[in-house]
């Protein structure tokens, strides 16, 4: 599984967490454009990105390049999606996920559990 870290802030932390929950995953940190390009060209399977709104810098490039129907904001200020809701998004075939840095661990852990079931 190839995972690319885009987004705007806290990339190192996001990558660390991804390594923790996707021990077999191939994780690369890129600028948000390059990360979104990777996912568009099929060089990566999943995109994770953080920013203060969970949707702005985190997903802006991904939405612009692969379309909003492939992206999901899983945590924003004042609202973290429930596990059921996250499962729904994963089941819908979303491949790019945005969230706020403070919820990164919780989100990555949850997404990882559902992706493992899927694969």
């Amino acid at each position: 599984m190839k995972i690319t870290v885009g987004g705007q802030i806290d990339k190192e932390n996001v990558a660390e967490l991804l390594k923790k929950y996707f021990p077999e995953g191939e994780i690369t940190i890129k600028s948000d454009i390059d990360a979104a390009m990777d996912i568009k060209l099929g060089n990566a399977d999943y995109y994770f990105g953080a920013c203060n709104t969970g949707g702005g810098g985190a997903l802006a490039m991904a939405i612009a390049l692969i379309g909003a129907d492939k992206c999901a904001t899983l945590a924003m200020p004042g609202n973290v999606l429930s596990e059921e809701k996250i499962k729904e998004e994963v089941d819908k075939g979303k491949i790019a996920f945005g969230f706020t840095p403070q919820s990164a661990e919780e989100i990555i852990k949850t997404v990882a559990s559902f992706l493992k079931i899927k694969s």
Binding site: I9, S31, I33, N52, G54, G56, L59, A64, T73, M76
Partner: protein, 444 residues
């Protein structure tokens, strides 16, 4: 009076631009606008998205930073105008509606913030003087951010080097900063300002000379792929430039600020303190440094979506801070925004050549967030403790609030916890007083 007028015009005009899909402030909403324009989502979905993305930030980020300070954090206005603009229908009537509702929102915001302050000051225990203390640590503490950026990007050693250099410069200018020009005339260099300047320069030198980060042609490719969208931004250059000018003018009148750090620094200058000019310089430098974080983000989202931001690459805030005459600030702001759009492809392609600068931009935003988190948390604790006469109750409440917030399903942004918890504590204190569960040391 002029505060109401400017805020109304700015807010009304921004709502119209959001309604027309010319400019939205929230970077996350920008990519959703072409989805609507090209018919993949409907107006309702766009409005719902904007509400979801922006409302929490208005309440949890914009307003708390604006309460009790004379300057409004721009997020309070421009995230609201995003919602107003895309929630009104996309036709002539809708655009006019957006303008009117937007103007009323801007006026209402200024009025409401003033009323809240009045209400607070009428309470039996007036906690406003203590509330101002929330910003005390950030006013000096923010200077650490360039060192933190270097630390993130090139490791703790180089980060520490930057910090130590800045501290040395600060002490050297404190001791030897008086430059005699002639008899009885000395130029005094400001130590805080110099320390910040040096660390920002070190940060930039590291970023520009970065050979580690991989170079790509991604921006150049984007400009090619999305040429129609670039053209759409350029077509709207005139209204966008006026918007930029309005923001610069509002900032020069000290009605708005672009980020919490420069807001707190500018608030200091309003108190007529001797350090006013220095704080002003620092606020300008912070605004400029922050722009490094936004130039790549705004440029790339504009190219890929055809939608710009009302404040553009946020350089207009620095214009407003440095130029105190609102009319000149308006014209310079207009010019700056026009140049940004005019040079859009050039800026994007240049960023390809300096990948370190783009990475630096990402780190600047991370660092400023971290600095705000810690400074405002400590500031909140100090302020809340002072409110309750230093009996420790404030420490308990604010730290408890911060930690419990982390476990919440609907958490506040960490940055906003300090101000929000402090305001809450002031209100709680008054309730306790009414219930006779709190006896202040000295009642008004």
């Amino acid at each position: 009076m002029e505060r109401f007028l400017i805020s109304g015009i700015l807010s009304g005009f921004a709502s119209v631009l959001a309604n027309l899909g010319v400019a939205v402030f929230n970077d996350g909403l920008r990519p959703m606008v072409p989805e609507f324009l090209e018919g993949r989502i409907d107006r309702k979905a766009l409005a719902a998205t904007s509400f979801a993305l922006s409302f929490g930030l208005v309440i949890g980020f914009g307003i708390p930073f604006s309460i009790g300070s004379a300057i409004i954090l721009i997020h309070s206005i421009l995230l609201g105008t995003d919602i107003i603009g895309v929630s009104t229908p996309r036709n002539k009537t809708g655009t006019v509606m957006a303008g009117i509702i937007g103007a009323l929102y801007g006026i209402g915001l200024v009025f409401g913030l003033e009323k809240i302050v009045e209400l607070f000051s009428k309470m039996p225990i007036d906690f406003l003087p203590s509330l101002a203390k929330v910003g005390a640590p950030i006013i000096v503490g923010f200077s650490v951010f360039p060192a933190l950026v270097v630390g993130y990007q090139y490791g703790a050693k180089k980060g520490a080097f930057t910090l130590i250099t800045a501290l040395l410069v600060r002490q050297i200018t404190t001791v030897f900063g008086k430059i005699p020009v002639s008899q009885n005339v000395n130029i005094t260099l400001n130590s805080d300002g110099m320390a910040l300047l040096i660390s920002v320069i070190i940060m930039l030198v590291f970023a520009i000379s970065d050979k580690e980060t991989e170079k790509t042609d991604s921006n150049k490719m984007l400009v090619g792929i999305f040429s129609a969208r670039v053209a759409r931004v350029k077509k709207n250059i005139i209204p966008l430039s006026i918007m930029g000018g309005l923001i610069a003018a509002a900032c020069s009148l000290r009605i708005v600020a672009g980020d919490p750090i420069s807001l707190k620094l500018l608030t200091e200058t309003l108190k007529g303190m001797a350090a006013g000019d220095i704080r002003n310089f620092e606020a300008g430098l912070v605004a400029l440094a922050r722009s490094i974080g936004f130039v790549p983000l705004v440029a790339t989202t504009a190219i890929t979506t055809g939608v710009y931001g009302p404040a553009g690459m946020t350089l207009v805030f620095a214009v407003g801070i440095f130029i105190k005459n609102p009319i000149i600030a308006f014209f310079v702001g207009t010019l700056i925004l026009a140049l940004e759009i005019f040079l859009l492809e050039f800026i994007a392609k240049t960023l390809d050549k300096f990948p370190g600068v783009k990475a630096c931009g990402d780190h600047i935003r991370t660092s400023m967030t971290k600095v705000l988190e810690i400074s405002l948390l400590v500031g909140g604790m100090i302020a809340a403790n002072e409110m309750a006469g230093g009996n420790g109750l404030g420490f308990l409440f604010v730290s408890g609030f911060y930690l419990l917030n982390k476990t919440s399903k609907k958490p506040l942004v960490d940055m906003a916890v300090g101000p929000v918890a402090t305001i809450l504590f002031g209100i709680i204190l008054n309730i306790l007083y009414v219930l006779q569960l709190y006896v202040p040391v000295a009642v008004k």
